[in-house]
Structure formats: C-alpha cells, structure tokens
Amino acid sequence: MLRYTFERTIYMIVTLWVIITLTFFLMHMIPGDPFTSEKRVPEQIRQNMLAKYHLDKPLIVQYGYYLRNLLHGDLGISLKYLNRSVNDIIKAGFPPSFQIGMQSIILGVSLGLVLGIVAALNRNGFWDYISMILAIIGRSVPNFIIATLLQFWIASKLRWLPVSGWGTFAHTILPSIALSFASLAIISRLMRASMLDVIGQDYIKTAKAKGLSSTEIIWRHMIRNAILPIITVLGPLIAGIVTGTFVIEKIFGIPGLGKYFVQSIYNNDYTMILGTTIFYSTILVLMVFFVDITYGLIDPRIRLGKGGR
C-alpha cells in the first residue's frame, strides 16, 4: 500500500508540473500582451508596467519567478483587477463554486445509487424504467440546456425559486439540480449493472441458502460489493462537475470562480488564467488521487496489480 501511495503521489506531482509548465508557455503564446487593449500610453509607462509584472524578462526567467512564487503558494497579482491578488479572487470565488459542486455531487451520487439499486432489484419494473429515462436524459441533454429549462419553467414561469443570483440556499437549488443530472445518469446505470452482476454471484446463493433475510443480503452482500466499481468513476465525474460550473455559473449569475475564469480569458489576464487553471487542476488531480488511494485501500487487487487495470 505504501508503495502504491508513493507511486500515485509521484504521478500527481508530475502531472501538476506538466500542467503548470504547459499552461505557462501556452499562455505566453497568445498574441498581444495584457496591456495592448489599454489606451495608448507613452512607451516609457508601458515599459514600466511590463517591468512591474516581470513581463520584460526572457520567458524562462519569468517561468523561474512563477515557479518560485508558486512554491510559496503565491499565484501572483491579477493584471486586470488592480492590486487584487489571484489568491484573493480565488478565495472570494471558490466558496460558491464549491458549494454548488458539492451539493450536486451529493445529490447526483446518492440519488443515482438509490435509483440504481432499486432498478436492479425490480428489473424491468416501474423503477427500472424511471431510472432508464432519467439516465437517457442525463446522458443526452447537455447541462446548459437542462439549466436553462429549469430556470425558465421553475423560476421564471412558476416562480418557485429565484431566477438567478446568489445569497440564500434557495439560490443554490436549481444550479445544483442542473449540474447533478449527468452524474445521476452515470451512477445509476453503473450501479444497476454492478448490482445485476453481484446478484448472479454464487455467494448470494450461499447467503440465501444460509437463510439470511433479504434485507441483510441486500445490505451486507449485494450493495457492499456492488458499490466498489462506482468509486472509479468518481474522479472523472468530479472533473465534469467542476468544468460544468463554468456554464452553470454563467446561466444563474453566480459570482463563482468559473465566471472569473471565463472572464479572465477574454481579458487576456495572464496571471489570472494561470492561477485559476492551476487551482482547478490541482483540485481535480487531488480528487483523482484520493479516489485512486481509496480504491486501492478498499480493493487489494488494484494495488497489487502493478498499477494497471
């Protein structure tokens, strides 16, 4: 287990380093510098501004500066929002994004698990069809369309919930639901398949033969075994939800990090793009790391199987 964890940690660090380097150099390939759109300023002032942000140094030196600051946890100063550090902006923008992301994961995963289990236990029954329909919707309707439709019907026609904005819990309900559809679809289908697989196993027959009650068989033998493969999709799922927040925040006017990210792209705000990309990537890579470790802990076959699947 130790060796497996160590291996995963090395991967994580290398992945992050590749992302940082790639982002940094890609960023500087974008035509123009952040001050090209400013009003015409005297050359001297321009030079001073470039010097202030170290933009006049050779690229490799800038890269060195950036890495050094990064190791101190400093993501630099935004080039557009005067004197606001990227750290500050992330601190302000992350909580709303995090709350919506977490709520939709919890909603999607828990509802998906329940639906999957119920569907497998009533194969070809009513709930099986309900879960199939939901899965089809979640798989084929993009989240931004679900979000717009929810906003249109529930908020602006029926007026049950606020249309957009941020502040109370009511504001978070629709965005969370819209985001959770995709994970709901994936989890419920996977859980159903996994449950059906387990139901056919010999140890379930043994358990029945021993005279265990069906509740006990379902809880202790079926669900515990069927839930294992679900953990592997959690990593990619979280990635999907995190990037999903970009559009969802735009639609519901939520002052989250996704909004800042998309804005910084239009503003050519180097440090901001770099900072948010690295922040997002770190979160995602960390999530995948924890998922891998958890899976290794739960299922010994993974860590003993030379890392391959």
Partner: protein
Amino acid sequence: MIELTREKFERVGPNIEESQAIVRPSMTYWQDAWRRLKMNKVAMASLVFLILLGIMAIIGPYMLPYKYSDQNLMLTNRPPSAEHWFGTDYLGRDLFVRTWMGARISLTIGITAALLDGIIGVIYGGISGYFGGQVDNVMMRIVDILYGIPYLILVILLMLVMGPGLVTIITAMVITGWVGMARLVRGQVLQLKEQEFVLAAKTLGASPGRIIMKHLIPNTIGPIIVSITFDVPAAIFTEAFLSYIGLGVQPPLASWGTLANDATNVLLLYPYQLFFPAFFISVTMLSFNLLGDGLRDALDPRLRK
C-alpha cells in the same frame, strides 16, 4: 419368419458430398454483426435518424431561399411560419437554415474529431502494446499524465492560443482526446499479441508495422468502432459547450451551441427559439449513444448472450 439375407439390405455409407455441403451461406464478421444490429430496433432507429440528419445537414441549408448569414432586420424574432419554417432570430436570420448549418458544423466537428482521436489512439496504443517492456512503460506513463490533465481546461487554453475557428476546435479536442483510445487499443493488443497467429506472422517474417496494422488492429476493430461512436457525441457536446461560453465557432457561422446560446438570450420572450437547437443536440447525442450500445452488442463477440 422372414429370412434376413444380405441382399435385403442396402448399404448406406456416409454421403461425403452431402454431409460436407454448406447448407446456410457462410457469414463474414460484418454480415454477422449487421444481422445482429438489425434485430436491435432502438439502434436501427438511431441509425436511421442519424442518416436522415446527415442528409439534412447536406441539403437543409438550400431548402429555403436564404443564406445562413442573411440578415433581415425587418423580420426579427418571428415565430415559425410558411416563409421561415423555424422562425427567425434576433437579427432576422432564418432559423431553419441556421439549424441545418449548425447540424453540418456540429456533425463535422464531432465525426472528424472522433475519427482523428481514433487514428492517433490506435497507432499509439498499437505500438505501445505490441512492443511492450520499456517502450510501453514510457509511452503509457506519458498517457497517464495526459489523462490526469482536466480535458476541458486544456481545450479552453488551446482555443485561446490558436484563436477560435473550426480547425482549432477539432485540433484542440484531438490533442487531448486520443488518450482514451490509446489505452483501449493497448489493452486489446496486449491480450492479442500472445496468440498463435501473431507468432505465425512473425515466423513468416512480417514486420512489426505489418503485424500491428494487418493482424492486431483488425482483431480489435469492434471495440474501436464502438469507442469512436461514443466519442462523437462527446465531441459534439464539447463543441456546444465551448460555443456556449463564447469560445467556439464565431458568428455569423452557426453551430448548435451558438444557436442555443443566442436563444437563451431571448428565452423569456421567445422560448421556442431554444427548442430546435436543444432538441437536435439532445436527440443526436442520444442516437449516437444508443447506436453505440447497439454496436457494442453486435460487434463484441464476448458479450454475446
């Protein structure tokens, strides 16, 4: 009692010709797969829908006497009518023509990106799996790292660097998208390369390139096709997503993503404008997914019931 003599018996020997005659026509892998696919009604319906969609993407933009970029500021935001079958948008552009123009662009992006992903992934995975050992180790570590990079974020960054446009979208998606296919093909090749027919090919002096392309890849073609079918809707979704946040195809060109984005801006006043792009994105993604499911059942002999 009747006497049984030899003459009363007739020798019925094995009729070699008859017993070895092939009664049913022999079937190739593809005929077999096609036969099984035909029995799957849902997959066939999806296939028919996709073919119709493809035809409409080609002829649709010419069915009405407007161009996708023609503006008519006297007729903005009109509901569907005899002149404008799907209505017009906020610049008076005909939505019927734009929807099919969008279909053309979305399908082009989806199919091209998926095919390129497939080709690169197959070559990379094939080489990695066939040579094994250190080569495989290094190549797969690279894939593992690329796999860890959040897909959409990288696509967004690449779009920024290369500037918006059709080619850029496809390139950005392919740079990040081939990894999954490489993993799949490598896994398949690792299993296949120990089999006797590979050894036979080797003994006959076939080069590694020939063995990979002529022996190993054709034997994994089923999973590859299935995976490409699932990649198409993913690429269409990514494009719609990018267009929706303003990074995709640029106006006046239309894709389903930009149409949906335009429609949401006037959603409260003209909700029906969202219907067509939303409907076609959803049904297309659904059809590709269902067709992929059908193909998986038809092409993968291991899943046969």
